[in-house]
Symmetry: D2
Subunit: 292 residues, 4 copies
């Protein structure tokens, strides 16, 4: 049963035979605008501006996070990202600072005024993460973790849902439908690259999915060129391309010293590169009737 | 910290520089044999026999399960599968009977003597599922759900770990490493098809992964030709091919009336087809020095 | 033996150990500029302007081609495309008008002043196609047809080389190396979508390949959002994204009446949509320091 | 216009609406049997026996070819393979001995009695290759080279058509349709691995395609586990699996000294390994009602 939308809205789309009646474009007259954060720093996704979310892959220490957050704010990013709980392929890789990482993120928000987005990996941790964060990220590996999707659907926080590396666009919308159906209408979709045969990039950023999602759903759609390419040198051009393709926001990794990063160093921008990205993103956004 | 293997064994492999020191072939002198079930019906994976696990995709009712379990036993399958908790792409699809499904599985075990394998979808449900089931299945969508992997690593039940549809062989081994590292040495790997461009089959069953895993790890490796193909007409040839490629077991779906199945009907065998599969599997197994 | 570059240039790159010493970025001080056409209508690829090549998938008749060519010129496209020889998956599909199609293309060039790009499918046809066309297109299916690559390398016409649907970026560069090595330095690379698991689009347009190729080679790189998406509604956003990612040109399909097209109707723009594309492309190009 | 089949046969299948009316299973009452070679050494594909084609990737010298051919015959292979014209990704790689290689192949046939299969890369070379070889191989890169397909359709020699690395099963059948439609009914299809995200193997051998093709077409279907895996250690298990899946033949690479091979050394068997393969293939073939 849907709590986030009126029965009439739901029926309308369902009547159209959509497999995702709540997420379907036809379910609403206009686009959903998702607010993240409160007070003067609150950021809206789904309107003319294209907010940039920046920060380190993982929260490593207060010094690292503070430097990254300061770089993000200086460059013009509007939200801070950073992982406290890290889903890693290997059990021996750095798994994040856990709740201590969340505390550091909250401290960085207080210092910079930037709302915080961070990943939650389990249904059991949703309440704790929601206490510290302004938005809950569901990672690519968890896109079809239905228990987590439902828990985030009851969390009272906006959800940033990343596309799985082998998920079709339809499967992403059905994952979003789990969150919507559980009662949370504040979902932001994120294209972050799919797995293909090409070895030169970590993933293949599928920007046609961004353009297509803008047609298929009323939910905002952002792009992550950092994971989407895995290469620092490709982040800026693909960030610009994402905006041109219609993205409602960007998610990029920045690190004060990428070569020393505990994870994802090769795809993290330096603060100077982030500044350059924002400047150039502003120009492209203007060319397509948006702002940064 | 590893509890499942001696420090010496672990060190040996780690010294060899493997990214998965516990799962690596070099971590043990011989192959791991995983027991499933207790008493006279107990089944061993990793020795000469190639056990067949059969049953419906989802437990739908006692009548359906009893018929499928009886068909499995009659045909010569050694274990019963059946989903009580179903990970579904759509929130509106049948999600399984939950704990009632587990009770039916336990009843079917009592009726047939076949040990039971069933999927567990969340860390929180591991204890409950372990109470009813002889082995815990971690589904393809959850292969990198590290919380679940660790919980199964502490469960005291063997784990059947399915390869994710976009996971590399190395990532599957690293997922197994999470379970091993948490203290559970009883892991069975399962190839169930990867996602490719080919639309004629639901997935592409990667039997070279079976042959390769037999070299890379000491853990038993089985194949699931039902999900691997998504087509009933291809299940038997691919089951035979899997045995020829070196599989230590098979996982196949059978339903008393596939056309009426609530899920995966097109890939479910009829009881007669299962009987045919076992007969032919026996011949191929004999040709490669195995038995069924 | 290379005839297109000085021995010194070649040696320099070879010394750097590149697998494609002639195509490698290091083989030249600057970027290669490829001229297509002669006289006042000549077009240059690889400088600040981003030329748009437009026209029908296949030349069907004089009326159809004249209407498409006129639409292309009116919209601001700089070159005319159109297939006279069509590589088709089925032997029963329309295979093109052959040499008659080439004559119509030449007539359309005379009428509009737009240089003509058309596909050549066999080494034996290179001389004939080169007599009519200003640039020779090597299609995606033929990217590794080494006989054709070498023949185009001796043709005295610029070559538009499309990436194969399953070719890596490195393989595309090695295919270009065949043309360069045979003596023709005028090669334009074209990203046109790769084959992935996603069924919602015909191919997945890999714009990161455009950005990456701009780093790896001195050759100009263009994008084909028509084949890259297979959907008319996605052509404009992906065309804009391609320019933002750094493309040196665009290749798009336009048809006076797409619903009646003999091939590729669903991905062909109407003349009005092409006009809209060019207008918007001009804005995005301006934002990244280019022009259209 | 079809010359290879009666109008009645063609009409029957076409009436069924198949996109490949000549290749479709319904086009004939039984299976097509393709003869390769003449006299006592002639080999038939599509009946109970499963012939093995073995030989080096490339013909390098008489000594190498003679040793490989002798190993093939001794092991029990029924045909000799060997490339005289090699399609290579790089223009700087060894491209084969050309016509001299064909002469050596004919000499090896005379010495061993094994019919010869070799690749033809261009329509223009079909007549020359057909003069020396018993069967013409169309390589994976050329599967959609329609000019070559048609030329082989008029060649009077059986054709071994390899599936492209990104071709669907339907596209393979449509490629075969080009050959059949041009008048040559003697086509053998070959699965040789598709391109996927998995880096551990050179390609992913899609044995479900073998099983599926046995349903969709009356043409014989063989498998190439050498290219399909790219790893010597996986060739034997995948060869056995292919037979179990229903393959009508095998194509395997053998080299007297794989470490010194000019191409494909890592996937070439030693003579002793080929002997082992044949012995084990015989056992599996027997288990599925075939012989080797």
């Amino acid at each position: 049963m849907s709590r986030g939308r009126s029965e009439g809205e739901r029926t309308a789309a369902a009547a159209a035979g959509s497999p995702y009646p709540l997420a379907a474009r036809a379910a609403r007259a206009g686009r959903t605008v998702v607010d993240v954060g409160e007070g003067p720093g609150a950021v809206r996704f789904g309107e003319v501006p294209v907010p940039i979310i920046a920060g380190p892959c993982a929260v490593e220490s207060w010094e690292q996070l503070a430097a990254a957050a300061s770089a993000a704010r200086t460059a013009g990013a509007r939200l801070l990202r950073g992982g406290a709980f890290k889903p890693r392929t290997s059990p021996y890789a750095f798994q994040g600072l856990g709740e201590e990482g969340l505390r550091l993120l909250a401290r960085a928000r207080a210092a910079t005024g930037l709302p915080v987005v961070t990943e939650v990996m389990t249904a059991g941790a949703v309440a704790m993460v929601a206490e510290y964060a302004d938005a809950l990220q569901i990672g690519a590996r968890n896109m079809q973790n239905t228990d987590l999707l439902r828990a985030c659907g009851r969390a009272g926080r906006p959800v940033l849902l990343k596309r799985g590396p082998a998920a079709t666009v339809e499967e992403l919308l059905l994952a979003a439908e789990y969150v919507l159906e559980a009662g949370n209408p504040r979902v932001i979709l994120c294209e972050r690259g799919i797995r293909t045969f090409e070895p030169a990039t970590r993933n293949t950023l599928d920007l046609s999915a961004v353009a297509l999602l803008r047609e298929l759903t009323h939910l905002p759609v952002i792009a992550d060129p950092s994971h989407g390419t895995g290469r620092r040198d490709l982040v800026v051009p693909m960030a610009l391309a994402a905006i041109a393709a219609g993205a409602d926001g960007l998610l990029v990794e920045v690190h004060p010293d990428p070569d020393q990063a505990l994870s994802d160093g090769p795809q993290s921008l330096t603060p100077a590169q982030l500044q350059d990205l924002v400047t150039r993103a502003r120009a492209v956004a203007g060319a397509v009737g948006r702002t940064v």
